[in-house]
Symmetry: C2
Amino acid sequence: MTSEQPDVAAARHRLAGHAVRTPLLEAPQINAVAGRRVLVKAECLQRTGSFKFRGAWNKLSSLSPDERARGVVAFSSGNHAQGVALSGKLLNAPAVIIMPADAPAAKIDATRAYGAEVVLYDRDTEDREAIGAALAAERGLTLVRPFDDPFVIAGQGTCGLEIAEQAAEAGVTAADVLVCCSGGGFAGGIALALETTAPFMRVRPVEPEGFDDFGRSLATGERVTNDRTSGSIQDAILSPTPGELTLPIGRRLFGPGLAVSDTQVLAAMRLAWQWLKIVVEPGGAAALAAALYRADAVSGDAVIVTASGGNVDQGVFERALGVG
Amino acid sequence: MTSEQPDVAAARHRLAGHAVRTPLLEAPQINAVAGRRVLVKAECLQRTGSFKFRGAWNKLSSLSPDERARGVVAFSSGNHAQGVALSGKLLNAPAVIIMPADAPAAKIDATRAYGAEVVLYDRDTEDREAIGAALAAERGLTLVRPFDDPFVIAGQGTCGLEIAEQAAEAGVTAADVLVCCSGGGFAGGIALALETTAPFMRVRPVEPEGFDDFGRSLATGERVTNDRTSGSIQDAILSPTPGELTLPIGRRLFGPGLAVSDTQVLAAMRLAWQWLKIVVEPGGAAALAAALYRADAVSGDAVIVTASGGNVDQGVFERALGVG
C-alpha cells in the first residue's frame, strides 16, 4: 500500500485519447418511471465493457518503463481482469490474470482475447494470493489491485470529472450520484472528482441486498463484512468489505448507501435495453435500479446513476428480457 | 422544396447541448472479425434512439416563432416520427405524426410518449398525403420531410463533424465511412460534413439486398426505384428511391454502395450487443454488417460505420441473439 493521494487530474491527462468519453444518457420513459430526471453515465460503453479500464490504464501508464516491461499481475474473475488485460496489451506490459477455474468461460475467453496470460486456480484447494506472490517474485510483476490503489481510484475518478461536465451541460449541478459499489474504488474516485468540480453533488453507494457492506459500514461507523460471498446475480459488486483506502473517502464524502434486489436489477436492465439502447450487466444496473425503484430514498429533481458495466452472459440477459 | 443549401456548421450550433455527442466505439473482437479496425459511431444512443433527432431538431429550431406555435406534421412509421415528436415537445411546437394503423404498437406508443399527436390512417383505403395536406392547411402546420430538406440534411450532417473529430483522436484520418442509407439524408449530411473536415474519408451508402436503390442509382447514373416496398427486417431503410436533394450529393461525394442481407444484419446486431454493449436495430446495423461481412469490398486499414438506430422490437432482437 502506498500513502500517495489519488490524483484525478493527472489520471485524466493519462487517459485522454485512450478511454472513451462515455455519454450521459436520458430518456423520458426512464424519467417517468423514476418520477424525476435520471441521467445515466453509460460506462458499459467504456473499453472492455466497464469503467475498470480507466483505473487499469492509469495504473499501468504510471509504471516505470522497467516495471512495464516486467509486467503486471491481477486477481479477478471479471471486469478488472479485462481492464488490466487490454491496458497491458496496449502499453506493452505483459499481464497475468489469476482467475478461478470455474469462472464463466466467456470471461476467461474475453480476458485472453484482450491479450492476457490467464492462470487458472482451484478455489477449493489453491490459494490465489500465494500463486500471485510466487509469480510476482519470480518475474518481478507489479500487482494491480482492483480498488485499494491510489492510481486505480484516480483513474475511476476521471468518470466523475466527465459526469460533472456533462450534467452541467444538461442543466444539472445538484444531485445525488448513485454509483454501483463493490470495494469502493469507482464510488470513491467519483466522489473525489466531484468534491472539487461539483460541490452540490453527493455520491451514494449502491449494493446488492444482503451484500451492502459499504452502506452498513458507513451507517454503523464500523467496517463490516458480508455474511455471504455469493448468491446474487450482481457478481461484479460482491466484494466482502470496503477497501482500506476507499472507506475513509466514503466516510468523508458519501451519502447513505442503498441496496437493491436482483429482481429490481433485472427490470432496470430491461428498461436500459428498451429506452437507452445500452447493454448493462446486473452489477452495473444496481444504481439505475435504485433510481427507479428506491425513488423514495432519493431526493431532488434529478438523479445521476452509473451504468458501470455491460459484461453479461447471454442467459442472464435473456432473463432480464423475460425470455430466459 | 427550397433551394437553400444545407449548413452543417449552423446545425451544429443549434444542436449544441441538445443532441448527444455519441461515442465512436471500437472493440478488438469486432476488428478481428472484420480484419481491420472498425470504428462504430453509436448513433443508437442519440435521443429517441436514432440519428433522426438531429435533423428534426435542426429543422424545428429553424422555424419562426409563429411557425413553431402553429406546429409541424410528419409522415413516418418509425424513427423520424420519434425525432420530430420529441423535438416538437422540447421546442413547444405541437407535432402531428401521420402513421399507418398497422405500424408496430411499440412505435406508435413511443411516438405518443414523446408528446406527439398520432393520426392513424389505413394504408389500403386512405391517402396519407391528402390527410397531411388537409391538416397542414387547416392548422397551418409545417411539413417536416424525412430527408429532402436542407435543414434535415444539415442536422444529420452534425454526426459527420463528430466522426471527423473522434476518428482523428483515434488516429484515423483516411477511411471509407459506411452509412446506413434510405433516402440519403444521413449519408448525404455526413458526406457534406466530411468534405471540408476529413477530405480523405469517403461515404459509402449501405442498403438491404434487394432495396439498394441508392447504390444502383449511383452505379447506373439513372434514378432507380426498388421493385418491392417491404420484405426485409431492415424496416428503417426501405425507402423506394433516392431523394431529390440527396442523390446529387451522393453523385458528387459518395463511393460505391454496398448491400447486405438480413442474416448478415442479425449477426452484426449480436456482435454489437456482445462486444460494444449497444442495442442496434436491423436497419441501423447494415453498415456494421457490411464492414464485417463485405470486407472484400472495403479497402484500407480502418473503416468507420454508423450504428444508426436502436428502435428494435424485442422479438426481432431475440432473433439476433438466437433465441427468437
